[in-house]
Point group: C2
Amino acid sequence: MRIVVLAGGIGGARFLRGLKRAAPDADITVIGNTGDDIHLFGLKVCPDLDTVMYTLGGGINEEQGWGREDETFRVKEELAAYGAGPEWFGLGDRDFATHIVRTQMLDAGYPLSAVTEALCDRWKPGVRLIPMTDDRVETHVAVAPADGDGERRVVHFQEYWVRLRAAVPAEAIVPVGAEQSKPAPGVLEAIAEADVILFPPSNPVVSIGTILAVPGIREAIADAGVPVVGLSPIVGDAPVRGMADKVLAAVGVESTAAAVAAHYGSGLLDGWLVDTVDADVVGRVEEAGIRCRAVPLMMTDVDATARMAREALALAEEVRGA
Amino acid sequence: MRIVVLAGGIGGARFLRGLKRAAPDADITVIGNTGDDIHLFGLKVCPDLDTVMYTLGGGINEEQGWGREDETFRVKEELAAYGAGPEWFGLGDRDFATHIVRTQMLDAGYPLSAVTEALCDRWKPGVRLIPMTDDRVETHVAVAPADGDGERRVVHFQEYWVRLRAAVPAEAIVPVGAEQSKPAPGVLEAIAEADVILFPPSNPVVSIGTILAVPGIREAIADAGVPVVGLSPIVGDAPVRGMADKVLAAVGVESTAAAVAAHYGSGLLDGWLVDTVDADVVGRVEEAGIRCRAVPLMMTDVDATARMAREALALAEEVRGA
């Protein structure tokens, strides 16, 4: 079975770990979000790709969900001693090596997809990880003026998310460069050859939404003619983790499992899993033309996550048989 | 008093620490060798500039003479896990930060001289440190064929020095790019305004020789009309430290205090200090038109080094009064 998964960072990576356990023989291709990518200290940092790679490759800091385990921060301390910032982004010493290798390969002319493949040679994530695009796409956030100073400010997504902790209202979210970007080699082919396409409980705006903003990807998924099943990142009207509600508000979508399903739409989504606490919305989602089931959606451990993945695959089979 | 010092790495840096103690009120400009510079992992590494900066700024690893004190090597270990080399060059985590900041500034368009000034803002070395040139000059070494395989190999100086430990005969040493290079801003001005010019006991070929290979620098020193005094890096026919004898052989110069003085020549050098064990060569050096004194030249500690610096300044005064 060939499964294509669109993945952001922590949520996507953890779901993938469960999916690998649920479908050990499947051929899994992950299309990774690169809208979170940022240049720091002259180095190209790809937080979502790395989170997937480290999580599936056994190098992740389990507790925080991103970055390397057993990490130290000596390079960063020294950079701060030079007055080189930003200090709000946590780059550890082991993590730095990844960005150094990546930047060196990019500077040598390799596209990000080839670089990602080379990095995965070490991590052996057990999936094929492809960035959504080799072109530069950067998610920017327009934040409300602070203290009524009248100036709307546009910041990089990481500044909004990490430095400002999404505590300032986001008025618009723009994947800058997406319109001119092309899917990375292999992305459209993987979608066309997929038996199932899954949207993990990732951020529907700045993770999966950004991937879908690369021209051709949304269309390829809609036209693939195979079941497309998603898992709600919203449980009981709040994000399971992260701050998805903040960015949903910016695009005018309510922070509910039903509203996110409607945001993807029946043109894209065939099946939708909501948590058991949201069982009351199943009927409403199905009325909108999306097959819906309520199952436990808390990724408390790999077993629980594998059960979620099995439910998603079962729903896909149901869609296929319908 | 304005003193200009041409400096390589460890020897130059340690001499400068003594000079600062010997002449605390002097205005010292250091023209640093950049022929040892190397690109590693996409980063610009300037070993000699950093050794001067760390030594005078209090950040040096005293025991080894280069690199940072209290150093760790996590980034390098991770790079090796990616298969990214070379492994023979010892870049520590704290040191990496310097190269990251430098590379970022160079990529932003700042010349190396401006970058060095910015790095020194942190280290406050108490001297003005200027790279010999902002242009790329790289010392390459032609090494003899290994095991008679007939191929003469040209390697970067660092590969010859660090990886091969100068154990292979060097047949030629070429500061690639030197002919097309220009002295960095401030270099010729500092020489023209100097009261004294000193050559520390640095490597006469790959440190001071490389600086003198930048068109205009040798001429400016010869024309400055002020005392130029050097200290022999060779004591008792062997280098005090390092492997200067190997590179002297490559340029056809004997590894003796007298031969190095003759290599610089009386057109450049007015005074020359040799160690007391080499007192027998004083007459020969003086016959060649270079004023010479035999004094203890072992930089065993800062006090001993300060005494050497005082001797050099005294010899300069003698030259001036002559």
